[in-house]
């Protein structure tokens, strides 16, 4: 097999792999929400509740001090 052929096959299978990955990801998102393990839509509020005085939706590690000193 020539290099060009190998490239073409690799390209095709890589594309197919990425397409499958994308659909698997969509499936994962909807299943996680249906089973109640995660509510993705609540993160939409990140743009709205962005004042310095509001509390984070989920904090990082809990190690840092809260916003109000």
């Amino acid at each position: 097999m020539e290099l060009g052929q190998i490239q073409a096959y690799a390209y095709f299978f890589f594309t197919a792999f990425l397409v499958v990955s994308l659909y698997a990801y969509i499936f994962h998102l909807y299943r996680a929400e249906k089973k109640g393990t995660r509510n993705y839509e609540k993160y939409g509020n990140l743009a709205l509740n962005d004042e310095v005085s509001t509390n984070p939706i989920e904090t990082v590690g809990g190690a840092r001090e809260p916003l109000k000193k």
Binding site: L29, G44, L46, I57
Partner: protein, 492 residues
Amino acid sequence: MGGNQTPLAYDYTVARLFLYATILFGIIGMTIGVFIAFQMAFPELNYLFGEYGTFSRLRPIHTNGVAFGFTVSGIFATWYYVGQRVLKVSMAESPFLMVVGKLHFAVYILTILLAVVTLFAGITTSKEYAELEWPLDLLVVVFWVLWGVSIFGLIGIRRERTLYISIWYYIATFLAVAMLFLFNNMAVPTALVSGHGDWYHSVSWYAGTNDALVQWWYGHNAVAFVFTTPIVAMIYYFLPKESGQAVYSYKLSLLSFWGLMFVYLWAGGHHLIYSTVPDWMQTMGSVFSIVLILPSWGSAINMLLTMKGEWNQLQSNPLIKFMVLGSTFYMLSTLEGPIQAIKSVNALAHFTDWIPGHVHDGTLGWVGFMIIASMYHMTPRLFKRELYSKSLMETQFWLQTIGIVLYFSSMWIAGITQGMMWRATDEFGNLSYSFIDTVVVLHPYYTVRAIGGLLYLTGIFIWAYNIYKTITDGRKLEDKELNVNRSPMSAN
């Protein structure tokens, strides 16, 4: 800290600096754009300022000025605003990030001013959108790395665990432009290697067809990662915030993001259809361009649906007008582009005025409107002042909308006319028209285009004036008046 109960506040020092730069480069870049549009219609205007006033000298200053001056300043200004807010961390908390931010601004301004000077002097690599010579390219790398330090530094000290949609798009912008810029600008400084030529002169590492491939992989992805992803970052924050409506579907934003990331990098081949690059690569460029409609429209429709139940705001809030029309123009240009990438359409459209028509309904309608709206939204928060005039915003909106329509409609007609005349043959297969025949026919459309550009530029001056008056004369606002979604604006 003891008894100090002062609440922490976001620090917008760097955002303010980039806001000024956005306005300055918007005025410079678009004024030159309008001037060269008039030169296309009235060629005598080429001879006003000797070599410095010719179309060929000014055109790269226009493109660099609006893309890397106006747009990139706007991207940085919004980053230093949105980044802090959605990560819930203040720049004031990190003296290091504050120094990085200010240095970022200083190196950036120096680079862009040097770019204007060198391009006026005719110093260029002659690669479209990559005209800057290697010493300036090195400065670009410095400020880009500083921006990266700022992005990942701020993310590193964040309080909010989840990165909001806009942050993904800023990260994508940073990573993709870094990769594209480095590879396309690989060049050999001639004086260092051979001892010949000026010290700043260089030649590309790539030759012939390879150079074209790398150039248009870069060139089209400059559209992707300067004119698309960072502007999508803006709309995902500013439209929900200004309207008070959370994004319609967070899941759709995830899918659109990964779809866009996967597809966009492969579409550049459509710039080289019917050229000497491999045929499969041209086809790939076409196919990926068509697929690109899906993730582009995914984001645009997500934005329009965010307004669900709140369409009355379109009537009452000029900022919503700018953003909804911006989103609509995003849909228009992401449909028009793929159509032009189809091989048979490209045979007609390539090298015609339909192409700059397409570019400008994207840049004026989508990029320009989003940056204008973002700066208007930020100004009251950055300066604690009420926006000076709502009616001026309305005037600006309509002037600019009419300007865009004149621009793209004239270029559609001009482009298709031009394409048809170029390919027309008589019964013996001889070309029916010479090049000058097309120039004569296109003259009125070039005039209309220049007038459209002038209307848009007038709007830019109104925008600059409105922001200037807000900063100097706008009513002072209390903190509680700023903790609202809709931007405070004076009715007059």
